[in-house]
Subunit: 488 residues, 2 copies
């Protein structure tokens, strides 16, 4: 027992020392996560923060599915009771994934309204969790007393920004994408020049034909004016009540000191960014560990139809498998995590996207020549075989994905280190307001200079009017003088 | 002699090893500099490149004033004969500085046209140098044969981008500012949302009142439509002839792989940027070396009017002096180099701007609370004394400049290392096209989506017209049927 305590103590000392040397002092981080792959992502940052000696507390509801607080970890968990049961939440997600995957994607005009209905439910259930949290006075007092230095929040699950305001602490957002583009545009004030920035879910690239640019514009107009995925009014009302002043969800989101965007220029197309947007895509990837032998020895019962060269496993270490030198291709549903692992290890892809950003992700990879895309609903066995053969045998795909891999690896600072640096910066200096654009302090018409343009047009009109009247007056005067002279 | 050779050889070996470990292989850099403070700036990057084992050749004309190839240095110089003599060039600059400094700044409408006349002369003389270079077939062949890996060009002295095209090698631009904003906007495709991005030389901050936003818009309109500082036609014609295809100066500039902007968020206000724009302001600053004793012992003849606490020197190591713990304030003309040294060492400023970007620089420093501004033409002795007292005794200025200093020092990678990293990246991979936005491939109306907006408006108009016609047709049909029924 004593030995164990000594070991723990020396580990703690080591961590404290690491922290002391890396950033000056150890911080106290509160995390506001989102389930499934989002958690895998955020955990990579949190574990790195722990390694550097910071204390990390993850705030989850009693209905949490994928985030398992019972696993041994240096991360602490704070669980609040939710009005939704774990079964209800899990059922919700099963429906959510299933419905979205089998939505008919053929028509823009039917796909997006159907998608809205699905996503609205997610935001409704999210609102319940937020209300459960904020109304829990005992927990809120405990959180107040814990004196956190920063909140790291997954922006696609609103709530983190409200917590940051209530607890009066700095906020760092982590975001892959938001359906539409409202969070980045209205929350972060990121500019979207539609002529070369394809809107998420449009499945377009940065080089668009005229009709593709029309499509992109229609997407943007649709998202700007009709795409109310979550009932904004409900959220705005809740945030206003919770903060005791009229506010909106996006205004509260915009207070973030830093946005960590889970994307980079290997995956995304070059586009305008802001000083408080850090593109950290691929941060969760690591060099592959050798695959455990047992993995290759597994010989459970196979379906009879499977060929002798196909293996089935309950779980495989995807990153290590993609990093294995014999891995030639990756058949993927197109989730960001998997695509980034393929980019990191330079493995060409066959993409069979299911839902959410996956079709768009695969569109990016095909545009960059690193993947072949198949349609889950229409593809045949031969299509799959041909696609796999194509990415393996045609050097075009390997060369392109190797270039993306080079872009990912050849950066001045690794994405994970950049993410941690800015979280630590925000803790050290209680924010990073010097990176936040003044655009946040403008109304929408001021932002677009509409008042200034209106004023200048009014000035020009007044000047033109005055000039015309003046000329007419002079002409009349002259004409009258002429008449008078004639008469005299 | 042998010892000397051995020393040189081991130094060379050390450099080669440094290079080998830092970036894989040593590169061959061609530099296209600009005179005076611009050269001080670029030299800091070039010296770092040499330290890392790269070969650096600086291309200068025989009329070069400030760039002294005779000083012992590891940097090589390639001097081409110019049609302008050194005396003519020096005289030109003396007039240039003098005229601009004493321009009447009171009125926008007289200041800028006068400024244009002055700057046009600079671009005319620059065009002469470019023509001298390109028409020098022998030198051009030599440059071709030297197989450079990259050109580092100061963008405010056009020519580097033409050379990069002719020699078919990647290009990295270095730029502090261009009078107007055409280079960054049209050459680099940097977005300028006028509601919170103050245009250079407007002396505005990012938080503007309505009338200041009007002023900013007028500046932008002026620079967009009337501000032809250099005869663009002449340059476009020359570039088209030299490259044997119709092109423009800005199109050629836009081929740059990377733009190193000599600014950062301690000095500038947060604004949209692009992935191929790296803000490296302050890169030339270094920790202060102890001041040489002789400096303090100097006692040449002083004018009788000078107080006993004022010292006169022919030259002082400004960076070391600003970094001296006893330095309390910095009276500066507001050049970027000096301001950055003051930021780096945390010294509050009294700014007496003369010309170029200097009034704008001081406006930035006063907006950030790190400086007091005086007007050279109107200030009295008391004004100066009071200003110096103010920045020394009021802790507001020291606190603010110390925060700017913190921003400068607390970055994931030092600015100089970032600059060198991207130059090396461009050399390693023969470019960095993955960071260059697709905006470069669009016409101005495509960039602003004017064709798409026009098309969509036409669609709406056609639909409205068809609908109205359809309704009218139906109404008439119904009315006719009614009449017919009545008659029957």
């Amino acid at each position: 027992m004593n030995k164990m305590l000594m070991k723990q103590f020396s580990l703690l000392l080591l961590l404290q020392l690491t922290c002391y040397f890396s950033s000056g002092r150890c911080g106290n981080v509160l995390a506001w996560p989102v389930e499934y792959s989002h958690w895998i992502n955020m955990k990579a940052i949190l574990e790195e923060l722990v390694t550097r000696g910071h204390e990390v507390t993850v705030l989850i509801s009693s209905a949490s599915i994928f985030i398992d607080p019972s696993k041994p970890s240096a991360i602490k968990f704070e669980i609040y009771p939710a009005s939704v049961t774990k079964e209800e939440y899990e059922n919700f997600f099963m429906h959510f994934f299933g419905e979205w995957t089998y939505l008919e994607k053929n028509s823009f005009w039917t796909y997006f309204p159907a998608m809205i209905r699905i996503i609205r439910k997610y935001f409704e259930i999210s609102l319940k969790f937020c209300k459960d949290l904020v109304s829990n006075k005992k927990l809120m007092t405990k959180l107040q007393e814990s004196r956190f230095d920063v909140i790291l929040a997954d922006a696609v699950g609103p709530g983190g920004e409200l917590l940051a305001e209530i607890l009066n602490i700095p906020l760092v957002h982590s975001l892959r994408f938001y359906p539409g583009y409202a969070m980045e545009k209205h929350g972060g004030k990121l500019p979207f020049p539609l002529s070369y920035v394809p809107i998420i879910m449009s499945e377009l690239s940065d080089h668009m034909t005229f009709m593709e640019r029309v499509k992109n514009m229609i997407h943007a107009l649709y998202f700007d004016f009709w795409f109310q995925t979550f009932n904004e009014k409900k959220w705005n009302q809740f945030y206003s009540e919770a903060l005791g002043r009229p506010t909106t969800l996006f205004e509260t989101m915009g207070k973030a000191d830093m946005w960590l965007i889970r994307n980079y220029w290997d995956f995304d197309f070059p586009r305008p960014l802001l000083p408080n947007f850090e593109f950290i895509g691929g941060f969760h990837c690591k060099p592959a560990k050798p695959l455990p032998k047992v993995l290759w020895r597994y010989n459970g019962k196979k379906p009879d139809t499977l060929g002798p060269n196909t293996r089935l496993y309950k779980w495989i270490p995807q990153n290590d498998l993609l990093g294995h030198p014999k891995t030639k291709a990756f058949i993927t549903h197109g989730g960001t995590n998997g695509i980034y692992e393929a980019i990191y290890h330079g493995v060409p892809m066959v993409g069979i996207p299911l839902f959410a950003d996956q079709p768009d992700n695969i569109a990016h990879m095909t545009a960059k020549g690193a993947a072949v895309r198949l349609d889950l609903k229409t593809m045949s066995r031969t299509d799959l075989v041909n696609a796999v053969k194509q990415v393996i045998n045609n050097p075009f795909y390997k060369e392109n994905v190797m270039w993306l891999s080079t872009i990912q690896h050849d950066q001045p600072v690794k994405p994970l280190d950049r993410a941690v640096f800015w979280i630590e910066f925000v803790m050290r200096h209680k924010g990073a307001k010097h990176l936040r654009p003044a655009a946040h302090d403008l109304t929408w018409y001021q932002y677009h200079s509409l008042d200034v343009i209106g004023f200048l047009l009014a000035c020009v009109a007044t000047a033109a009017f005055a000039l015309t009247r003046g000329c007419l007056f002079c002409c009349r005067k002259l004409a009258n003088a002429g008449k008078k002279a004639k008469r005299e």
